[in-house]
């Protein structure tokens, strides 16, 4: 078999196809989606000579096993994890040659949460609204991978990979998220803002691609009731009635009726993708 395809032998806990997502359709109720740790995804694409918009795989905690039907170059990065080809150790965060029919194993993350597996030529499932990303909120894009899924691959690009190995940040021991107040900080008491910006929260196990949920002291409202639904941005810190802040990630709903106390700085969002449940979280005010 020489066709360019990737057989999913072991899908793992949650492995999805991701690219840069489908921004620009929020007014139709379509979430942006896309790789949660976008810098890691971009680096892996570069290592295999793909353009930034090529689709790759995003794994969750325990990796996945893949068998390409033709020889391919891959790169695995993001969450540090063991990589092997037919049982032989292979480098992480560097281009790896996988012969046709060999088994590429992406193991359980040593730290962090999400590993990215880029394949030269990219995963070429049918795009939806210009993106191949799986959107877990609205169900757009390909469903999460299951054992036996066969993914089509594109022809390798001729882009030279300028680097063989790239430095990648280690997953953080503590999440420090810079936040800008508003748009609805006035819906909370002054004590709530103080609590929000001084206490240490923890990443909740209920976190997913839609939102990073937190555990910690509840934030007290100065204004009761629900807001009329309003548009939501990536990184919005929404506070539902239980008072526990939720940071909106790539698959977040486009509108919502709970007040947003603050918005996380975009550069700090990729680290949320690599923070397992229990990770301490600090919200630090940054006035601009």
């Amino acid at each position: 078999m020489t066709d360019r395809a990737l057989v999913v032998v072991r899908a793992g806990a949650l492995t999805t196809v991701q690219d840069l997502g489908r921004p620009g359709h929020a007014h139709l109720g379509v979430p942006r989606s896309g790789a949660l740790d976008a810098p890691a995804a971009a680096l892996m694409n570069r290592l295999v000579g793909n353009p930034a918009e090529a689709a790759l795989l995003e794994t969750t905690l325990n990796g996945c096993d893949l068998r390409p039907r033709s020889a391919v170059t891959v790169a695995v990065g993001g969450a540090p994890c063991p990589v092997s080809v037919d049982g032989r150790p292979a480098p992480w965060g560097a281009p790896v040659h996988v012969p046709a029919g060999a088994l590429l194993s992406v193991g359980t993350a040593v730290s962090g949460v999400r590993a990215y597996v880029a394949v030269a030529g990219g995963v070429t499932v049918e795009p939806v609204l210009g993106s191949r990303s799986t959107d877990l909120l609205s169900g757009l894009g390909p469903p999460p991978l299951t054992d036996g899924t066969v993914l089509p691959l594109g022809k390798p690009y001729d882009l030279p990979a300028r680097v063989d190995v790239v430095p990648q940040p280690s997953p953080p021991a503590q999440l420090v998220l810079r936040v800008t107040p508003g748009p609805r900080d006035d819906w909370f008491t002054a004590a709530a803002w103080h609590t929000f910006t001084t206490h240490t929260y923890r990443v909740s196990s209920a976190s997913n691609r839609i939102g990073l949920r937190t555990e910690g002291p509840a934030l007290e409202r100065a204004i009761g009731g629900e807001l009329p639904s309003e548009g939501m941005v990536l990184g919005a810190v929404q506070v539902p009635p239980d008072g526990h802040p939720v940071v909106f990630l790539a698959d977040h709903p486009t509108t919502g009726g709970y007040p947003v106390i603050a918005v996380v700085h975009p550069e700090d969002l990729p680290t949320t993708a690599q923070s397992p449940p229990g990770t301490p979280v600090r919200f630090i005010p940054s006035r601009t």
Partner: protein, 204 residues
């Protein structure tokens, strides 16, 4: 009209009424079309319009604070007609809330000129305004775990059509075979903000 900062790259522009939100949305779309506004997302909602992906939100906020809202422009296109069988499981409850017969609910609903105020909840789900204020209804006390695709429902001042099967708490007054969302179609969404809509009754 006031513009609230949302992070470093977005503004939430807040107005007082649904009508003002629709007027503001139409005006912002016009500004973008003529090239005087550069923004990635314009997301209307009940009393706000979110502008996301701005280079200089504070400058735009200053401009908007001085701007006056033009009236809602007349629709640029013909109304989308949605054929409805008024046979929903909550039709009798809505009739009681309105103080009319079920047949009269269908007549009143089908006589109204609707407009998509905004979308959300799911791709292709529009919040339609157009019913007189006295016909507002609460959501069901207990949401259904499954509402079939094509269900036509009421909640608060809004009418909506479920693009696909999902949980939901709206009062269901009818069903349609119209395809609200088809990502293989261009455009994928039958309804987008500003679209005029009429419901056309058909026999069950």
């Amino acid at each position: 009209m006031r513009a609230l900062p949302v992070g470093d790259r977005a503004l939430l522009v807040e107005v007082s009424t649904d009508e003002e939100a629709q007027a503001l949305h139409a005006d912002l779309l016009r500004r973008r079309a003529e090239g005087s506004l550069s923004v990635r997302e314009i997301v209307p909602a009940a009393r706000t319009v979110l502008l996301d992906g701005l280079d200089d939100p504070s400058r735009l906020a200053a401009q908007l604070s001085l701007a006056r809202l033009p009236p809602v422009p007349p629709p640029e296109k013909d109304a989308v007609e949605i054929a409805v069988r008024y046979d929903g499981p909550d039709l009798a409850d809505v009739a009681e809330l309105w103080g009319v017969s079920p047949e009269e609910v269908a007549r009143i609903h089908a006589a109204a000129d609707f407009r998509v105020a905004f979308c959300g909840f799911a791709p292709g789900f529009g919040y339609l305004t157009g019913l007189p204020a006295r016909y507002g209804v609460p959501r069901r006390a207990t949401p259904r775990t499954t509402v079939p695709a094509g269900s036509v429902g009421l909640a608060g001042p809004y009418t909506g059509v479920y693009p696909r099967s999902s949980p939901g708490g709206w009062q269901l007054i009818g069903t349609t075979d119209a395809v609200l969302w088809d990502h293989a179609r261009v455009p994928a969404a039958l309804l987008s903000p500003g679209t005029p809509v009429r419901f056309v009754p058909v026999d069950s």
